[in-house]
Amino acid sequence: MINSSPFTHKSINLSSYMGVVVIALLPALFTYIWFFGLGIAVHMLIGITTALVTETIMLKLRHRPAASFITDNSAIITAVLLVFCIPSFAPWWITFIGVAFAMVFGKHLYGGLGYNPFNPAMIGYAMLLISFPAQMTAWSAPAELLGNTPNFISTLQIIFSGSILDTHLFDAITMATPLDMLKTQLGLEQDMKTILAQPVFGIMAGKGWEWVNIAILAGGLWLMYKRIINWHIPVAVLGSLFVMASIFYLIDPQAYISPVVHLFGGAAMLGAFFIATDPVTASTTIKGRLWFGAGVGVLTFTIRTWGGYPDGIAFAVLLMNMATPLIDYYTQPRVFGHDGDKS
């Protein structure tokens, strides 16, 4: 093929593009370590290593140029996002299986980067949650409730051997997440005021969790500022979740979780800024992004309120991923010089 115009190019490439996303998650990671200990850091290392090794093997098997694809940083993003969804004292093989499954079944079997219809990290998460519910719901308690987080050595022991010197320690360091607590207790017809008086709840949502969510929000806003993501999907996700939650909370504040807890108590921030915005699997038109985000928000609220899981971001995103081609088709913009919309 002959070399044709344009002969000039913006100096941004995929690796720096993806690298910015990873950097945007660092504040959240440090906040998480501050409140919940070093477990997540260990899992991050396991996850990133697994992702890079799996990616290399798959690229070799698929006869693709491994070097240029491994350095695109996309495998690291998948690992980092999935690890954020895994309890920090879960055994090492949870992360290993989850990330490997995400890379192989969520990404490469569909054709690799750019061709996967579903968010790979969420594919991995959904598989783990369904297959290993016990390990996936044993969340670590925030440090302020423990008084002290397990040190690095005991963290490693917990993650790698599962053998804990103090047999009561594991029960002591794990507890339900705020949303989980609310769902279970509301199911037991507990009074909302009593539930919120439990030690796990903090200023607005859960102790620790609210700060992690604020850090994620900050990272997300920085991504917008860097023009890596647009405002449409995050605003639509959080907006629709907030509106739905507010309506039901106003109807019956005793039976429905408050919109603030919805936004800061679970994975809403991570989902809105980092998961639903995955360009490969989200809608690509402006209007489509708003519909896509709104769908994620509404489905998340629906699953949290009437479904079987305390948080619903992952399933909401996966369901909306399925609708993406349809949304894109019906939300084509008006082309210059043409009348009306395509829809």
Partner: protein, 515 residues
């Protein structure tokens, strides 16, 4: 005349590019030494190729017509200098596919002797038809790059009333400054050209759109236009591709040219400022279109500058005037970095549409591009509001029906999507490929349609012949049956008659015997 700041509109998307315009505006426009040899392609414009009216060995004078227009969308060609026609043959020209094309080659005699000129200064008393005829005879085509014969664009037709003439001085591509320098130095001539065009179009007023990164040009044109109340100079924001015809119309008037329509359908005609200057020269100086101002720029050029160059001058002559190439293997581009095309022969000649020769390091390597991650940055910058990522998807999949649903043919190939793509995908190349494939398919479809029609016609003809033959045969059979019947009947009658006769004879014989 400088009017109150009129309202401006915006088109979607666009890019703020590094301009690189200062380098080539330091020196005034200057001419270059007379080339020894000029190569003049017969096809310098959109439309049908001109036909040579000189032959090898003919002596020609500067400004003498050497090729005649053939067909409506075509213009004549003139000798840029005096000399001898030494060849008429295929030569390499500036073309994206490095093809050769029919050219008239003139060896200069060094005297640069003009044919008798016929300047016209009383254009105010000429009819629009006469004005267009003069512009046609001068061989003027759009000098902004497209090269459409100007006299046609000045002839909107009986039923279309043109209200606004727009002069395009946006010059939005990086590096190119030839229109800028022309406006700075020859503003009065451009305004005269605009007046002639206004008259030819019978238009009410003229808007001159210039990007605000050219304050000197804006000031010069404003000064020159100050005497005329119907000419308005508008400073427009610098944003690539404001110089696109439809984009500039949108910015200046807020109107969108409907798809598959011409600007004249909404009462607007757009011409380049360099075309206005060529028209001025054709009337006031009586000189046909034989030279143009072009920019030589890029980091592989010793001295970037603007030059007035005769049409047909080899690129190498122009580059040498600028100190030659720093890196001998630099890639040469005709036009700007966003929409120009690569040239493979330094011997290719300057043509009427050549606004820039760019010699720079090519920093694009599309060899190993990454997959599309649908980030949508391309859609954000697309000035036509397309979805480049979807177009790429369908071009890649060779789904040429679907790609047309996504309005491939509205793409103006400005290169914005390509420029921002983080995966380095050569998007425009994919779109050109898809367009070409669709054209080829359509041509083949037309051909096969014709073949099918012929085949069906032949079949029906054979069928008809067969039927007719069968009918004729049947008729024949039928008629022959009838004649047999007749014979039979006749025979029967004859037999009967014979019998009667025999009986009568016998009776008569008996009677005779009885008597």
């Amino acid at each position: 005349m400088l009017k109150t700041i009129q309202q401006l509109w915006q088109f979607r998307g666009g890019l703020h590019l590094e301009e690189h315009k200062d380098e080539s505006t330091l020196l005034p426009i200057s001419s270059i030494p007379l080339p020894k040899k000029l190569v003049l392609p017969l096809q310098q414009h959109l439309g049908q190729t001109a036909e040579a009216i000189v032959s090898k060995g003919d002596k020609v004078l500067k400004g003498q017509k050497i090729a005649e227009a053939s067909g409506y969308v075509s213009v004549p060609l003139h000798a840029p200098t005096s000399g001898t026609v030494i060849d008429i043959d295929n030569y390499p020209i500036a073309h994206p596919s490095s093809m050769k094309s029919m050219c008239i080659v003139i060896e200069s005699d060094g005297r640069d002797q003009w044919i008798e000129k016929h300047p016209v200064s009383n254009y105010e008393s000429m009819t629009p038809e006469q004005l267009r005829e003069h512009i046609f005879e001068a061989g003027i085509v759009g000098m902004g790059g497209a090269g459409f014969p100007s006299f046609i664009k000045l002839n909107p037709g009986e039923e279309k009333k043109v209200k606004t003439l727009i002069l395009n001085g946006a010059e939005c591509e990086p590096y190119i400054t030839c229109d800028d320098m022309l406006m700075r130095e020859q503003a009065d001539n451009i305004i005269t050209g605009a007046r002639i065009m206004l008259r030819a179009l019978q238009a009410e007023h003229c808007l001159i759109g210039i990007e605000n990164n050219k304050p000197e040009a804006i000031a010069a044109i404003q000064k020159a236009a100050s005497a005329f109340s119907d000419i308005e100079v508008v400073s427009v924001p610098t944003l690539y591709p404001t110089g696109g015809e439809k984009q500039l119309i949108k910015v200046l008037t807020g109107l969108e040219v409907p798809n598959q329509s011409f600007p004249s359908d909404i009462g607007i005609v757009c011409h380049n400022v360099a075309t206005a200057n060529a028209i001025y020269r054709a009337f006031i100086l009586g000189e046909p279109s034989i030279s143009r101002v072009l920019t030589v720029a890029g980091n592989n050029i010793e001295t970037a500058r603007n030059l007035e160059v005769l049409i047909g001058t080899p690129f190498s002559d122009v580059i040498n005037v600028c100190g030659g190439l720093i890196n001998k293997n630099a890639s040469l581009v005709m036009g700007g970095p966003m929409m120009g095309f690569q040239i493979h022969s330094e011997q290719a000649p300057v043509i009427k549409t050549c606004n820039c020769i760019l010699a720079r390091d090519d920093n694009t390597s599309h060899e190993h591009h990454m997959p599309c991650i649908r980030c949508g940055q391309c859609a954000e910058v697309c000035p036509v509001n397309l979805l480049p990522q979807q177009l790429y998807w369908y071009a890649h999949a060779r789904d040429f029906d679907k790609i047309q649903d996504y309005k491939l043919f509205d793409c103006i190939e400005c290169g914005c999507c390509d420029y921002v793509c983080p995966s380095d995908i050569p998007l425009v190349q994919y779109y050109r490929f898809a367009k070409t494939e669709i054209w080829v398919q359509e041509q083949e479809k037309q051909k096969s349609d014709i073949a099918r029609q012929r085949h069906e016609f032949r079949n029906s003809r054979l069928e008809r012949d067969k039927r007719e033959r069968a009918e004729r045969h049947k008729k024949k059979l039928a008629s022959s049956d009838k004649s047999d019947d007749k014979d039979k009947k006749q025979k029967v009658i004859q037999d009967a008659l014979d019998r009667v006769k025999a009986k009568r004879d016998a009776q008569q014989a008996n009677q005779n015997n009885d008597q």
